[in-house]
């Protein structure tokens, strides 16, 4: 079982890879809309990547209103 810190780090790694951002430039409390300059659709694409990586299904409502990696990680952690 992953720890929440591991989950968070894996999400940060996935995001930096998906959006071609240098590893290490993203932090758990970053607002991903602002930091990555992405819109809601691109966020949905990232979520699909995350689902495949963790092998979970994350309903859309679970991520409604979430805009930072830490909160996103906690939602994912609860489904692992």
């Amino acid at each position: 079982m992953r720890t929440i810190d591991q989950t968070t780090q894996e999400i940060l790694d996935l995001a930096s890879k998906h959006f071609n951002v240098p590893a290490g430039t993203l932090a758990p409390d970053d607002d991903f809309f602002k930091k990555l300059g992405i819109d809601s659709l691109q966020t949905l694409e990232l979520l699909s990547r995350i689902e495949n990586h963790f092998n979970i299904e994350l309903p859309d409502y679970e991520v409604q209103g979430v805009s930072d990696f830490r909160t996103l990680a906690s939602r994912i952690q609860s489904r692992l």
Partner: protein, 571 residues
Amino acid sequence: MLDLSKYQSIGAALKDALDQFSDEVCLIESDREREKERLTYREFQRRAHPLARILQAAGLRPNERAAIVMTNQSKWLISAYAIFFCGGVLVPLDYKLTPDEQWQLLAHSGARMLVTEYPVWRQLAASAGRSAATNLATIYVTEAPANTDLAGARRWEEALSDTTAPVFVPRTRNDVATIVYSSGTGGRPKGCMMTHENYLEQCVALTSLYPFAPGFRYLSILPTNHAIDFMVGFFGPFICGATVVHLRTLRPEFVREAFPKYKITYVSLVPLVLKNLQKGLQARFDALPSGKRKMFNAAVAINKALTKGHPRLGLSRLLLKQVHSGFGGELRAIIVGGAFTEPQTLQFFYDLGIPVANGYGLTEAGTAITVNDLHPFRADTVGKPLPGMEVRIVDPGADGIGEILVQSKTVMSGYLNEPELTAETIVDGWLRTGDLGRFDRAGHLQLFGRKKNMIVTEEGKNIYPEDVESVFESLPVKEFCVFAANYIWPQRTMVGEQLVLAIHLEPGQTLTEDLRKNISLLNNRLLNYKRIHGIVLFEEDFPRTASLKIKRNILAERLAQADRATAIVKL
């Protein structure tokens, strides 16, 4: 299609539609690759009547308000029909708002009942905002897990066991059918009171250009509380016996799969999604090997030449078979709305033989005011006024551009509890849109920015500065005010609109890095599309009324004396 001229209300028309098209499929609901539900009109009726019965038993009286906060799904439409069946007034709320915002609108609307889904209710029930909505007497929650404490709410599914026939309550055309919030989660809620006539007339006008029929399938992606999806993803298809397809997840890959899987006929999208679709397609075209790309470009050129005067769907599907089969091969048009769409995006799809029904409208006018009739397709305009719409331009400048005014049976009766605002908005029977436009020689409307202090995002969200101001209340500055940047510095454009925060600092105070950080922190509390993009410093006291309200128009005039490029400090 039912003859809507014979009907007095949405409920009466839907009631007859359920009988007339009883064996047709009315709803398909899919969750990822799994089809969850497929209902005929008869089955829809069997689900809705028990709910209507239980709403009546719980005390929903004619003209009383009942709200829905739910993602797009079959239960949304079933609940809405049940409310209309009881003669109730539907209050459709945006499920994407924060729980506090939802409670605020629930309180403002005076709704006595609420139908919602468990994930939404979980957040609503935990929100402190609940205490504001004392008007709410009964709450029904769908799909709640067994043995869960519903914090005073009832289970929606319990209604299904009640087999007593409900009593249909007729309404008249001038009765209010819905209260639709066009904005107002912060300052002054704008609850548009839409009558049954508004919907009946709008439906006739829209279906005259973009008809539905049994076998047609509409993919419902835009939130159904939105005026567009309510019309073309519920009322329009239902009174024609067509099918509405709901997806419980809107991940791009599942949306893409839905087109060929369900042979979609129409879909409504906001400009942001349409543009994203364009990017994806363009990337695929660019990746074609040189020879294939040349052949493809030639097919597009031929299609373009042959569809210059009007769409020729059959021909386009043959010429550009691969593109069309990706969309299921039966797509007749993409309806785009909610915000301004750039002409090159519209042209891109039309050149592929996929007409985009581009128009202009606002909730207050009953969805659409103008729509492109595709004869011929015009990417540079928002089309001609729909049948029954009178549109005029007032106070035009030398360039012919002025404010757009509308008169029609589809215009709302007013804003709920806001007689003054209503009187300012509807003057001598004409709705003042606050948008700027001009007609060309062919009678097409072109848009050129806004007169009003608000922005519309590419996602179709209307944002009024008053709605975001409260988040900055703790700022340690003398005074502040949020503006649409284009309201201060008018631009002849409808894209790239942004909000800015005008600040008057305390004597001796400067815009330090700490203050900027503080502003950013507060800004991040807003949903991403509501955030301000820059700061404008103002060195005098804000002009105020005798009751100390900021005179926004005068302040904007003074702010405009500075150069826009240098005045806005980016956040």
